[in-house]
């Protein structure tokens, strides 16, 4: 584990360099370049959100639909993108590990950061847009909203570590990730509030960190309008355990690495 806690300055420099490299490799230097970071998720999110809001009732269970969908769909995108970017990420970046100061963790951090930055810019930009046309109000409880979104980011990163680590060991990880990341939409808590569930099911659902984080995000968006069940302490513990497992898997993946 000590490898992860090397000199902070070196690590910041390395992660910064990897981040810039990642941006150039993914978005190129011609045309929009860096602008795609903002636009890519927006192109994804805005049409989907608009279609959903048209085909569904504007009020479901007495809750305004747009805040519900908006705050639910962007974390889905984050989760999917982070996970997909982590598939086999050690293998495809093996060449970077010839530079001794670069660790697997740095590469992970840079990839993850780019997705998070991209997602957060989309959150701000789409909020501004929907707020401007009157489809969204400011979150009622802003700190709670931030906390929920923070947990969402942590959850996506922790799952990314696990998926990335497993994908280096077995091809099953990659095959399972595709359907899982799609079905995730239905059991992540995106489309439900815990209060709508029967007691027994609610208990199980709330084991899932994403469900917890959604509850907190909803508490933040809707305030006292709904009863929510988010438990920040439990979520923090659960995510710590998942992160620890992910780090172990990732460290282990170094053993399986075959460079070019």
């Amino acid at each position: 584990m000590h490898k992860f806690w090397r000199d902070f300055a070196t690590q910041r420099r390395v992660v910064g360099a990897l981040l810039i490299r990642e941006i150039y490799t993914r978005f190129g230097r011609q045309g929009l370049g860096f602008g795609w970071i903002v636009l890519e998720p927006l192109i994804f999110a805005i049409p989907v959100l608009l279609v959903w809001s048209v085909v569904r009732n504007p009020y479901e269970h007495g809750i305004a639909l747009m805040p519900f969908l908006w705050s639910g769909y962007l974390p889905i995108l984050l989760f999917r993108h982070v996970g997909s970017r982590m598939l086999l990420f050690v293998r495809v970046n093996a060449g970077l590990l010839y530079h001794r100061q670069v660790t697997i963790f740095d590469i992970f951090l840079a990839r993850c950061l780019l997705e998070v930055i991209s997602n957060l810019t989309a959150v701000v930009a789409s909020f501004a847009l929907f707020y401007g046309v009157g489809l969204l109000d400011l979150p009622r409880d802003l700190p709670m909203f931030y906390l929920g979104y923070f947990y969402m980011i942590w959850w996506a990163a922790a799952v990314g570590l696990i998926v990335g680590g497993l994908s280096e060991r077995t091809e099953w990880a990659e095959k399972f990730w595709q359907p899982y990341s799609y079905l995730y939409m239905f059991f992540s808590g995106f489309l439900v509030l815990a209060v709508w569930l029967p007691d027994q099911l609610r208990g199980w659902a709330l084991f899932q960190p994403s469900f917890q984080a959604y509850e907190m995000i909803r508490a933040g968006m809707l305030g006292n309008a709904v009863k929510t069940y988010g438990d920040p302490a439990y979520t923090g513990w659960a995510l710590s355990v998942l992160t620890f497992i992910g780090l172990l898997l990732m460290r282990d993946s170094r053993k399986y690495l075959v460079a070019e």
Partner: protein, 215 residues
């Protein structure tokens, strides 16, 4: 000093275990030049990857008290979709060196001119070799790992790379995987002959080349 002690590397392919490096031990002292010889598939490149630190040995240890370069090979150390300049920027950042210094050195040595602002993937093989070579020499290492790259490039590049590597950096260590007997004879003081994953160390390079030819 680099000391490899009883290094073993195994790969698992389709459920079978293949031992690419089988209990190899050697030392490379500061300033020493070691040749790595052997047929294709004998384990030279695996050993280079282990020494480069990108793969870990299955068992045994590799201790290093000097800085070791990334392998100077055709593909080593850069990203094809990035331009030469962006690759240099990346190297400058992670090694905490000035981009201008690196650029000046690479421009002078690799003589790629305007190609530096184009993606590396459009370079010819000779240009890539020049770029990779120049970029690794732009960073100061105690020991350079070289995987056959000297064979690429034109006459002028050969002359200049020999000058840079063997004359200006005569005090540095070198681990050189090559099939070119002449280069090995003129620069290396010892040789490690790899055969089926096993390594035999020769203090006499001529004897090593003789043994290699007799394989």
């Amino acid at each position: 000093m680099i000391s490899a002690i009883d290094v073993v590397k195994e790969y698992r392919t389709e459920g079978r275990v293949r031992r690419a490096v089988n209990g190899v031990s050697f030392n490379v002292a500061r300033g020493e030049k070691l040749a790595l010889i052997g047929r294709n598939g004998a384990g030279k490149s695996t050993l280079i990857r282990l020494l480069g630190g990108v793969e870990l040995p299955t068992s045994g240890t590799i201790e290093q008290t000097m800085s070791v370069s990334w392998p100077l090979a055709l593909q080593g150390g850069f990203q094809g979709s990035l331009t030469g300049n962006d690759n240099m920027r990346f190297i400058a950042r992670i090694y905490n060196k000035s981009f201008d210094d690196i650029k000046a050195y690479v421009e002078d040595f690799a003589e790629l001119g305007r190609y530096l602002s184009e993606p590396v993937r459009v370079y010819s093989i000779g240009m890539r070799a020049r770029f990779a070579f120049a970029l690794s020499l732009a960073i100061d290492f105690d020991c350079y790992l070289i995987d056959e790259v000297i064979a690429a490039g034109d006459q002028r590049f050969h002359r200049r790379s020999h000058e840079e590597l063997f004359e200006k950096r005569a005090d540095r260590s070198l681990i050189l995987a090559s099939h070119m007997g002449e280069i090995i004879k003129s620069y290396c003081s010892r040789a490690l002959l790899m055969h089926h994953g096993r390594g035999s160390l020769f203090n006499d390079v001529d004897l090593a080349l003789q043994a290699y030819n007799d394989l």
